[in-house]
Symmetry: C2
Subunit: 556 residues, 2 copies
């Protein structure tokens, strides 16, 4: 039995590139991309990707050389997800909200050989390249290709080629080399760096393939979905949803209605945008739109409201290092009988492992033992499976720290409920330890979100002379019918907290800001809030609140 | 980038065993199995499989030793699909319709170490073991374990243990060894041998895993299906559907109604059983039942009728060597506008590749070039992908013949339509070559099936002095309202053929049999019909028809 050997017919390396080839063969005439007035079908997309891959090959890049892209959700961005690996290169999509310094450091760290720049981001790219060459004047630097808008060309030019010209130069008969090893790298995604310097997460063809299957399976996407790209593609191999480009309420409603969108992905924060749209911005949602959400634990109250609008939400949990979703809160039909608020609470849990993940657990990392399924005992969420990243590029220390005893450490603290569903209680570094009690900042934030006037909420640890740490809450407030926010104050929120929380969990301080500080990917920057909170703890100066507002605003 | 290495956290061998562990963790309390009055949930099934695996391990089998099973669709059969590989053994399910000689030769060829026998098949097993020892008196032989009926115990005993006792002996805390190589064998399935000696097809963990994902994806099974085991599990890693055990019309209707079945698999021949059920055997189909069908090209007329009953049919094509389905006739919504007969014709095509298959093509095997997408040019259907079998056990010649130039040869002749959908025209050996024209037996059979009185039809080549070969049709006939079949004769069918077929395709002979001869798996034995057809060609004796009936009946 052990004599039967692998051959090309029975052992084909797993790669998402096979999906495009298949789509061209069997859905050739179906629409692949709609971008304003521009439409492609799968045959055209396959043809364009092959041309682009052939042009990239003509640049004589080394195998697994990095191709960086600075672009929003445009057709070129989609095409590069296939064309770049077809050319045996590695795709690196860069967050367009980063500053020039960060973009330059990614170009250097990844040793990018080619740099695609959308016409909208020429200024940012120019500055980044300047910084790049300041640091290393001898460097060859990446070859630069400008992407003009395919639907409304601007005429802007930058670098050696224009994208469309570069595509047309290519050979439509180009046949990509077969992937010989499914462990080969396919993409490189930098983490947003909420806590430390950005790390370059490398995915394999195998991981990307399996993760794709899980996602379409777990979400029951069917064979003919209409997908709205509300999640920026520079996170499309990743997970960190944000409100990004397509998140103007009017554009979203217009696209949903015009193209009969069936599926979209977004962060819970996008729910606010959809809910707060003005009447003239709205269109009726004729048939239910499936939303996959994640990136931050969605407040149950928000889930309840968005479903009333005609969206059907599936809540998932993942991270860049897990090639996207790792857990999904799969709905149990028996929950349909429960009152709506209870349903929303159940849906706010992170859920169960996706099908292609080999295992998930919540462990005490000191003993590596699993926590009991009691919904209370906290531990760190750990994962195993072939869709976990290969590792961090040129960062052995971070790579070895994140893999412990055969598990990947998520850095998230959670519990397992008796029904096997996981719930995140916090990032491990965000847990507040007050007088020996662990306080989950997420739990506290959920209570704050249930207050009718709270728009955003984040709770961090504040040093406390007696308890070691105590919770400090930062919120922003919804406008009232008169368009004002100044009718809510700290005392109102504190008294609401006292009514709804155990005494030891009540924040010692509530700070109201016009908007909470966020990273380029839309994550609240708790490290900034922690820095602010220290001021309150030390100075006990009530004027600090106004200073805090100014500090925070300067980051927005 | 190439320094990033595999570890236990990011490279987990693919194996369907992970599905059971996950089901126990996340669907623990959901029903796993219903068998008459016996019910298990996933926690219990996982527990029972671990016990069984632990008991098997205590028998000190060699790694990858074969465990053979002779049983119908009972809970034990399902449990062994997980427990046997958990014990690092290889599962071999034997078709219960084989005779003792064939069973003995499978036990010998596979070198089975353990032999599970259902109480219903003790006599067959006893005879097979006798033959086994006659051939090799020194052989140790497999250890025998009897499976009594779990729902209504018979008290019958045979061999060393009884299954339930053997399960209970096991350790419920048994942790199976991790699979270290996904290329390891998981099951061994013998082909039915319509044309040659049965061959032992070996699957890998990887292949079984990927094939499972494709199937649930392609069929859109969702996360909570209710599946009726109408397909014998001794083909459950395989594909050859038959009417088997659950195919009594009354039992099928009763189970569908009682358990709200959502999904089932069966051969097109089962449609006849469902359609011809007497009124008292029927129950109303309250909500649509999804049927996955295959094993033989389904006549379009039959597809049309079964859908009217409330079944929704998906047509797939596969073979044992492809770990089941390889193509699926994915429905295009634009087809809903077409008249029903056109819809049925489209659905009768074999379709497009399943998602995890790397590639499918129709090729001229001499030149290895693809046929044009014209729906006319015939070639052999070839497949590539990780769900193709490892090879045939101890049969290097057959293995190397079936793999050609990096492709697996299906032995089926087909065409590609302009829309990319494949359609089988014949088994390569069943094509009739008449005066230099290729005649597809399947095409001819489809026309015969459209005759209102034809129940079964098979067309084979008959030697012809002038044309080399000519078509000879064998049919069986539906009863008329008086319960008779003798009001249809050869002349009626011939005149119908002349009206509906090109002249060169009209059969030179039509033979009416009470039932067509079939293999143990329900496939029509064309080699027998070919032998019969020779008599007609040579003797031109009209009395041959009655002799033929007797010959055929002796096999039923």
């Amino acid at each position: 039995m052990d004599k039967l050997s692998k051959c090309e017919a029975n052992y084909v390396p797993l790669s998402p590139l096979t999906f495009l080839k298949r789509a061209a063969a069997v859905y050739g005439n179906r629409t692949s991309i709609i971008y304003e007035g521009t439409r492609f079908n799968w045959l055209q997309t396959y043809d364009r990707c092959r041309r682009l891959a052939s042009s990239l090959r003509s640049l004589n890049m080394p195998k697994h050389g990095v191709v960086s892209v600075l672009a929003p959700n445009i057709p070129a961005m989609y095409e590069m997800h296939f064309a770049v690996p077809m050319a045996e290169a590695v795709l690196n999509t860069i967050n367009v909200r980063l500053d020039a310094k960060n973009v330059a450091s990614i170009l250097r760290h990844s040793e990018a050989k080619v740099f695609f720049v959308d016409c909208q981001y020429v200024q940012l790219a120019r500055e980044a390249l300047k910084l790049y060459f300041v640091e290393d004047t001898d460097a060859a630097g990446p070859r630069v290709i400008l992407i003009d808008d395919i639907d409304s060309p601007t005429g802007i030019r930058f670098g050696e080629f224009e994208y469309e010209q570069f595509v047309q130069m290519g050979d439509p008969r180009f046949l990509p080399e077969e992937i010989h090893d499914e462990w080969d790298p396919i993409t490189l995604n930098y983490t947003s760096g909420t806590t430390s310097a950005p790390k370059g997460v490398v995915y394999s063809h195998r991981g990307a393939y399996l993760s794709t299957l899980s996602l379409i399976l777990g979400w029951e996407m069917g064979s003919a979905p209409v997908y709205l790209w509300s999640l920026p593609m520079f996170h499309c191999n990743g997970w960190t949803f944000t409100w990004g480009v397509a998140a103007r309420a009017y554009d979203m409603y217009r696209n949903i209605s015009q193209h009969r969108v069936t599926h979209m992905c977004c962060a819970p924060i996008v729910f606010n945008i959809l809910l707060q749209a003005k009447p003239e911005e709205r269109k009726e949602i004729a048939s239910p739109v499936q939303i996959l959400t994640g990136g931050a634990p969605p407040p149950a109250s928000l889930l309840e409201e968005i479903e009333l609008l005609g969206f059907h939400v599936t809540h998932a949990y993942g991270l860049t290092e897990a090639t996207g979703p790792a857990l999904v809160c799969e709905w149990q039909s028996s929950w349909n009988q429960l009152p709506k608020p209870d349903q929303a609470k159940l849906k706010a849990r992170q859920g169960i492992s996706i099908l292609t993940l080999a295992d998930v657990d919540v462990k005490n990392l000191d003993t590596m033992s699993s926590v009991p399924r009691d919904g209370k005992t906290m531990g760190e969420i750990v994962l195993r499976g072939s869709s976990i990243m290969k590792g961090y590029l040129k960062n052995e220390e971070a790579t070895s720290q994140s893999f412990k005893n055969g598990w990947f450490r998520t850095g998230d603290v959670g519990v397992i409920h008796p029904d096997g569903y996981l719930e995140i209680k916090d990032r491990s570094k965000d847990v507040i330890i007050s007088g020996g009690e662990n306080i989950s900042s997420v739990e506290l934030e959920n209570v704050l979100f249930r207050h009718p006037r709270v728009l955003e909420a984040a709770v961090v640890a504040m040093p406390h002379p007696q308890w070691g740490e105590s919770p400090c809450a930062f919120i922003s407030v919804k406008t009232n019918s008169a368009g004002k926010t100044d009718d809510v104050n700290e005392a109102d929120i504190l008294s609401y907290c006292r009514e709804n929380l155990s005494r030891f969990m009540v924040p010692k301080k509530v700070v109201i800001l016009p908007e909470l500080p966020k990273t380029a990917t839309g994550k609240i920057q708790k490290f900034q809030l922690r820095a602010l909170a220290k001021n309150f703890a030390v100075s006990k100066d009530h004027n600090a609140q106004s200073r805090a507002q100014i500090l925070a605003m300067s980051r927005l």
